[in-house]
């Protein structure tokens, strides 16, 4: 039973990481006042280009860079539309999701003729599990050994990076001058502008950080979790990340727990199907899949605490009024 529990937690971690990166990506953007429903599209584009670049270069690091650059490019499209031209941020996000969903299979099919998928990556083109020291030796120690060997050790680099990113984001947002300004620009851009700080430059920086993190999220899917790109690989994870962001009330540490919760739900959805639960009987997988969204709606409705978005979110900033 304990071992099963650890196995479930292990896959929870694995499934949470892409959500976590995307969720933090959205956090930077939305905290600066730029709503982003295009997380999904950026993840998809990054997953594709990470796989392509990794395959062509044979280096997982160059692949990761390729994915990140692709994601930043789409982020900048969003930035130009939302910040410079003061367009509707929701519409821009929808457009980005469409462009990603159209471009990736089109290019994939053109380059590799495999119906949009990319060729399978060799080991040097992927992020492989890192075995922490003494994992083998500690394997037989009851409980602790199991936790260390199975749950803590044996993940790829990006998993550890993801957890580190939570702490880093917390520090950056709440302990640095840049973070203070970033949060301020999402709440009251006029005040920031009055203080002589460029609203536009701050928002662009936030959008670029968003691109980098979405890029890592997408690369995780294609060059860490699996070995290559398949069509529509992100399959709604960008939207789950968006739900997690709201569920976390736009706070980095909460984001970690929200993503772990949603990752956990994903991890148990399939195994739960086969078990007869007391009172309920068999739990249909669709119900568990819908749970993150239902929880988010309930939270948005203010029935369990209230999710209040950054005040200036979604509003383009107009200097003189």
């Amino acid at each position: 039973m304990f071992e099963l529990f650890i196995v479930v937690l292990d896959s929870t971690v694995r499934l949470s990481v892409p959500l976590l990166f995307a969720c933090l990506a959205g956090l930077y953007s939305e905290r600066s006042g730029v709503f982003d429903i295009g997380l999904e599209g950026k993840m998809l584009v990054s997953a594709f280009f990470a796989a392509v670049v990794s395959f062509e270069s044979g280096s997982v690091w160059i692949g990761l860079g390729g994915g990140i650059i692709a994601s930043i490019a789409l982020s900048l499209v969003h930035g130009v539309a939302a910040i410079t031209f003061r367009g509707n941020q929701i519409i821009s996000g929808v457009a980005i999701n469409f462009i990603a969903a159209g471009l990736t299979p089109l290019l994939g099919n053109y380059w590799y003729k495999r119906g949009g998928s990319t060729p399978a990556l060799a080991d040097e083109g992927r992020f492989l599990p890192i075995h922490l020291p003494f994992a083998e030796e500690m394997k037989d120690v009851p409980y602790i050994g199991n936790i260390y060997e199975e749950l803590i050790s044996g993940h790829n680099f990006l998993v550890y990076l993801g957890f580190a990113a939570v702490g880093f984001t917390y520090w950056l947002l709440f302990k640095t001058r840049f973070g203070l300004r970033l949060r301020a620009v999402g709440e009251n851009p006029t005040a920031v502008d009055t203080a002589g700080i460029s609203v536009i430059a701050l928002r662009y920086r936030a959008v670029i950080i968003c691109g980098i993190l979405c890029g890592i999220a997408g690369a995780y899917l294609s060059i860490a979790q699996s070995s290559g790109f398949v069509v529509n690989m992100s399959s709604g994870r960008g939207f789950i990340a968006l739900a997690a962001l709201i569920f976390a009330k736009w706070k980095p540490v909460n984001a970690l727990f929200a993503c772990l919760l949603f990752g956990f739900l994903e991890a148990v959805a399939i195994p739960l199907q086969t078990y007869d639960l007391p009172l309920i009987g068999k739990m249909p997988v669709q119900f568990i899949q819908a749970t993150p969204y239902i929880l988010t709606v309930i939270l948005l409705a203010g029935f369990i605490g209230k999710a209040i978005p950054p005040k200036a979110g979604g509003e383009p900033y107009v200097k003189e009024r």
Partner: protein, 375 residues
């Protein structure tokens, strides 16, 4: 806003969107060039596939019917300042309404069951929009996020229902039984043959006229009724609406329900008329494209009819294109749609400062020609 920042109507609703559209198409053409095909040839195949023969025209208008419903749905909500991106889920639920009527009352006369099915699609679509609307009106939850969530919840709900409840015994496929023949909506080629006109067989059916009727109904509602005035006031300035004694909660809820009902009626075309059964993910993408249609049609019914036909051409022509040129997969159309949404919607103001400059320079003579807009 001063006079300097305004443009004549023909530029604002004619020329500027046209420039944006040309931009979107140019980038699409560039992508076609990159993958080594000739954009002119591709455009030719696309247009021939959509308009060059009767069956193609039928398919084009059949797709246009879907876009009309979802485009009108988005536009109605836009007028109240609401962004309904839940058309996808509302259409899906509309299909459930259709299935419940058509599967449970197989023996009713067509004159009863077809209107019932239409009402059921609208009702279920409206119901799925009601919850986000209520939460927006009473609890202040942003409708964009809640409708996205409701799309995803609808996806899970419907796949559960189709796999475990609605699919007939002994099959594993996520679809229902065939609907009763009584609920068949006449196809266009059948109807034309009653008058002795030959037309190639296609899925185009009477729902097209239902959609046009909805477009007319939307025009009447928004511009010719008291309620429509309240909707536009709410959209223009919610505080002005409140001062005028308009209950914004009521306007939000009713408008979103109308929007949901329109999206739900997509199922009349897709499920009742064409598939004649409920199939998993039948709403696939049409709800989201409705946003592009509404944007392109500038939220006006006439514009939306034209935009729907354009998107119908893209869809049908694109399907033929993927068939003719294997290097161009059907996702090319998704990309073009994305670019149209980007340029017509998110970047709609991109050329406005330039255009203001050009227009006021050309139209000048007076001294106050300098343009205050600096970006």
């Amino acid at each position: 806003m001063s006079d300097k920042a305004t443009l004549p109507r023909w530029i604002d609703i004619g020329l500027l969107p046209l420039i944006n559209l040309i931009f979107a198409i140019s980038i699409s053409a560039a992508v076609v060039l990159i993958i080594g095909e000739n954009p002119i040839e591709v455009a030719g195949i696309l247009i021939y596939g959509a308009l060059g023969y009767e069956e193609g025209i039928g398919y084009t208008l059949y797709y246009a019917t879907n876009f009309l419903f979802t485009g009108l749905a988005v536009a109605v909500a836009f007028h109240a300042g609401l962004f309904n991106i839940g058309g996808e889920g509302q259409a899906y639920l509309g299909g459930l309404g259709a299935a419940l009527v058509c599967l449970n009352f197989p023996n009713l006369h067509w004159a009863i069951i077809i209107p019932m099915a239409i009402i059921a699609t609208a009702f279920f679509g409206a119901l799925w929009a009601f919850i986000p609307a209520y939460l927006r009106a009473k609890r202040g939850s942003h409708e964009v996020i809640t409708t996205i969530m409701f799309n995803l919840i609808a996806g899970s709900l419907m796949s559960y229902l189709l796999i475990y409840i609605l699919s007939p015994e002994g099959t594993n496929q996520p679809l229902t039984d065939r609907f009763t023949p009584n609920s068949n909506i006449p196809k266009m080629h059948d109807m034309l043959s009653w008058f002795g006109i030959e037309f190639e067989s296609s899925p185009l059916n009477m729902s097209f006229f239902l959609a046009l009727l909805c477009a007319f109904g939307m025009w009447v509602l928004i511009w010719r009724t008291r309620f429509g005035y309240a909707v536009r006031t709410q959209g223009f300035s919610p505080s002005a609406a409140t001062y005028a004694g308009i209950s914004s909660a009521k306007v939000i809820i009713i408008t979103m329900c109308i929007s949901g009902a329109l999206a739900g009626m997509l199922a009349v075309n897709e499920s009742v008329a064409v598939a004649e059964r409920l199939i998993i993910e039948f709403a696939g993408g049409f709800g989201f494209v409705g946003i592009a249609v509404a944007l392109m049609g500038r939220n006006h019914p006439v514009g939306i009819v034209l935009a729907s036909i354009l998107f119908g051409i893209l869809y049908q022509g694109g399907a033929d294109l993927a068939f003719e040129i294997p290097t161009i997969s059907k996702e090319m159309i998704v990309l073009i749609q994305g670019l149209i949404i980007l340029f017509m919607g998110a970047l709609e103001y991109m050329f406005k400062p330039v255009m203001l400059n050009v227009y006021h320079t050309l139209a000048s003579g007076q001294s106050d020609t300098s343009v205050g807009e600096a970006s």
